[in-house]
């Protein structure tokens, strides 16, 4: 078991065939310009008024996004080869016309036994037991139904990484 230090970015690979959702992921998991401005403002406020209780304990994510399962496998393989494997892989279950997320997760699991794999889907026709059978182990497999708050998901993802 390894513990992720908060000063290290959490590397997240996201695959979803819906561009709007990918954008929502990016906004929830990335430091936007707005976030950077807010940090500068908070720093100035701390200097001018009182020692701030605002601490930078927010998780920082390094997000790589794609829209197909095969792309996700290639990216995971490339990252592992570069010595920077992803901490978390978030997969949509159905991503036509390519392979589905379960197949992609299964093959990524073969590449990296320690990666946290998260399935996020709008369908509810795949029993969790089936997912656990195809993409073991259950402790590193997570399942969420859409719609969901990605900012909450980001917190959950950070927790997963911290716990492991």
């Amino acid at each position: 078991m390894s513990t992720q230090h908060l000063d290290e970015n959490i590397r997240v690979l996201i695959a979803d065939d819906d561009e709007h959702i990918l954008q929502a992921y990016r906004e929830a998991f990335s430091d936007t310009e707005s976030t950077q401005e807010m940090r500068a403002l908070d720093a100035l406020a701390a200097e001018l008024f009182e020692p701030s209780d605002v601490t930078d304990d927010e998780p920082h994510f390094e997000v790589v996004a794609c829209s197909q399962g095969n792309d996700a496998i290639d990216l995971a393989k490339q990252a592992a080869n570069d010595g920077h494997p992803f901490d978390v892989v978030i997969l949509d279950v159905r991503m036509p016309p390519g392979i589905d997320g379960v197949e992609a997760g299964s093959r990524i699991r073969e590449l990296d036994p320690d990666v946290e794999i998260v399935f996020v889907t709008g369908f509810s026709d795949m029993p969790l037991e089936e997912l656990q059978r195809r993409v073991p182990p259950p402790l590193r497999l997570h399942y969420f139904n859409k719609p969901l708050s990605f900012s909450q998901l980001a917190q959950d993802v950070a927790s997963m990484v911290r716990e492991h």
């Binding site: 954008q23 807010m38 709008g122 969901l148 990605f150």
Partner: protein
């Protein structure tokens, strides 16, 4: 396209094969009869013809023997002995007279002395006396003459047939002896009879054989034999279509072939045999044809017609698609069993198809629902996250110290460096608000966009709401009986449900589940209407009839109750959305509005009628009639 006619019908095949089998049987019987029976008849006929020849021959031999007996009676006699010895001259006058020949049936009689000289003779031909020389027989050096006129001892005899100038004769010669057969021989006694037409007629009459004779030298042997080859005895039998001719060659007294006696036997036995064979064949043919007709009739009734009915029924079902239509072939044999199994199979297929249709309908709905849910969930995800961020916009000012910064700037003690930073802070705060506002605006656009997408998904879905389920061929009574089960079991005997028996005759083309729900709803409404009437009970009757609407054959199902009914003023509004005559909170079922829509989606319509409040109501459901329904 229907094709119920086989290239070669079973009936035709069976008839042809039966006919061929019968023809072969008759031909076989005919050949067997001809090979076995006819030769037996021919053999019998030949035996009978041979017996005729034997009888003819024996008749001639009997005449010869009789003549010999007469000669034997006269030869050993003292009177003639003395006469031929010259010592009894009166004998001639008293005995050797014409009546003697007539009485003895002789045509010739002669007495010779010992040295062969003629002593006395008499020859009669057709009543006329002729000289003995006319015979050209007894005289000269003819060997036959010596055999007849001279006998060396008492045992000498000459008997047989001889040729004369007047025709063939049977002749007998005996030595003349004393009455006690003692000798010495005094002379010879010769007696003879012509083998003429009269004798032949007598023989034919006596033997009943169509016999005749002729000299061998006059017989036409038709190349079978040369005359010199002719042997004494029987000749090969001659066969013609009508006669069997048997011949025997008799020898004269010298042992030479002389007289050919023939016996002609009509071929009555063969003819009878042929008639018998013909009758037998005719009888068998008639029996065979009768048997064939019976077999054909039996096969037609028990095999061909049921199979034809089964074939027609299969084609009918193939054309109509109505698997609920049973053949119900009343037969207890294997074909009946086949028909029953076919009916059962149809019923099972019918039920399975209905279940599959229902299942596929449900599965389709489930798939559609899952797809819609997926799309909506996908669309809602950016919406939720956008709204999540918009929520944070309203808290953006919570962390800002704008008021305090302004107060510090207003303070005269504030140095210029700090003042610059406060201004910088205020500027950054303002930029922050502007940025968040811009982000919120973008998020709102995303939310609006996703909301429109949800609307599109729902609109898209709406197109499918009008897709009617697959129609089935339904037997009305089955659906009605199932629908009637909606009546509560505790209804007791006060509310009677009457289902007309003739409902089994009606078939409609409709969606089973939809029709079941419609009828259940109407029956339940009727039940509740009767309860509301508080009349202590009532009756719900279910009936049907055929009708034609706009040239379309329809079946009109009627649910009639004795409940509260309704007035004229609401007749046209009972099927409108929201209409109810029930008390508040008592509404049950799917509603008449839904019923109207459901029936309409099945290509039918629904309408109601009532004689007014308190007089019950009728709800009529018109549905397309299934073919044959």
């Amino acid at each position: 396209m229907s094709n119920t006619k086989a290239k070669r019908s079973l009936q035709r095949k069976v008839s042809l094969r039966l006919s061929l089998a019968m023809a072969a049987f008759i031909v076989g019987v005919f050949l067997i009869l001809r090979a076995v029976i006819t030769p037996a008849f021919e053999e019998l006929e030949l035996e009978a013809a041979h017996a005729d020849l034997v009888r003819a021959d024996q008749a001639i031999q009997t005449d010869i023997e009789n003549l010999e007996a007469v000669t034997l009676d006269w030869g050993p006699w003292d009177d003639i002995y003395e006469y031929v010895s010259g010592r009894n001259p009166g004998f001639e006058k008293s005995n050797l007279v014409r009546p003697t020949l007539t009485n003895l049936g002789l045509d010739m009689m002669a007495v010779y002395e010992l040295d062969g000289r003629l002593k006395w003779s008499q020859l009669l031909l057709d009543g006329d006396e002729l000289p003995l020389e006319d015979l050209a027989l007894l005289g000269g050096d003819d060997p036959a003459a010596h055999l007849l006129t001279e006998h060396a001892n008492a045992d000498s005899r000459t008997v047989g047939i001889v040729n004369t100038a007047l025709g063939p004769m049977i002749i007998s010669s005996q030595p003349i002896l004393r009455s006690d057969d003692s000798g010495p021989v005094a002379g010879a006694l010769v007696m003879a009879q012509f083998l003429d037409e009269k004798r032949l007629a007598r023989l034919v009459e006596r033997t009943e054989v169509d016999m005749t004779w002729l000299l061998v030298e006059n017989y036409a042997f038709e190349g079978e034999h040369e005359f010199s080859d002719i042997m004494i005895g029987e000749l090969p039998v001659r066969l013609s279509d009508e006669l069997v001719t048997n011949c025997i060659v008799l020898a004269d007294i010298l042992g030479n072939p002389y007289l050919l006696v023939s016996a002609k036997t009509p071929r009555t036995i063969t003819s009878l045999g042929q008639q018998t064979v013909g009758a037998a064949v005719l009888f068998l043919a008639a029996a065979g044809i009768l048997l064939m007709v019976v077999l054909w009739w039996f096969m037609k009734g028990t095999i061909i017609r049921p199979i034809q009915e089964l074939t027609r029924h299969m084609d009918k079902i193939r054309q109509s698609g109505d698997l609920s239509d049973n053949l119900s072939l009343n037969s207890d044999d294997e074909i009946g069993l086949l028909a029953d199994q076919y009916d059962k199979l149809n019923s099972e297929v019918h039920e399975t198809r209905a279940a599959l249709l229902h299942q596929s309908f449900k599965a389709g709905k489930a798939d559609t629902a899952a797809e819609v849910l997926h799309n909506i969930r996908n669309a809602m995800t950016p919406m939720i996250n956008g709204l999540d961020r918009i929520g944070k916009v309203f808290k953006v000012t919570d962390g800002l110290h704008v008021k305090k910064a302004v107060e510090e700037l207003s303070n005269a003690d504030c140095d210029s460096d700090k003042a610059g930073k406060y201004v910088q802070y205020l500027d950054a705060s303002f930029d922050r608000v502007v940025t968040v506002h811009a982000e919120a605006t973008d998020d709102l656009k995303v939310v609006a966009s996703q909301a429109r997408q949800v609307e599109c998904i729902l609109s898209d879905q709406e197109k499918f709401t009008n897709v009617a389920p697959v129609a089935e061929f339904l037997v009305v009574d089955e659906v009605v009986e199932e629908a009637a089960m909606v009546v509560p079991k505790d209804a007791g005997a006060n509310i009677h449900v009457e289902i007309a028996e003739e409902l089994t005759h009606y078939r409609v083309r409709a969606h089973r589940v939809g029709l079941l729900q419609v009828l259940s709803n109407l029956i339940l409404n009727a039940y509740e209407s009767i309860e509301r009437a508080k009349g202590g009970g009532g009756r719900i009757s279910l009936s049907a009839k055929n009708t034609v609407v706009d040239d379309t054959e329809m079946v009109q199902l009627t649910v009639r109750d004795t409940g509260t009914g309704f007035g004229e003023e609401v007749r046209d509004s009972v099927f409108q959305r929201g209409f109810t005559s029930k008390s508040e909170g008592a509404t049950t079922g799917l509603g008449l509005h839904w019923c109207a829509n459901a029936v309409s989606s099945m290509g039918g319509r629904i309408f109601a009628d009532s004689q007014g409040e308190g007089h019950g109501a009728e709800f009529h459901v018109l549905l397309p009639a299934a073919q044959g329904g």
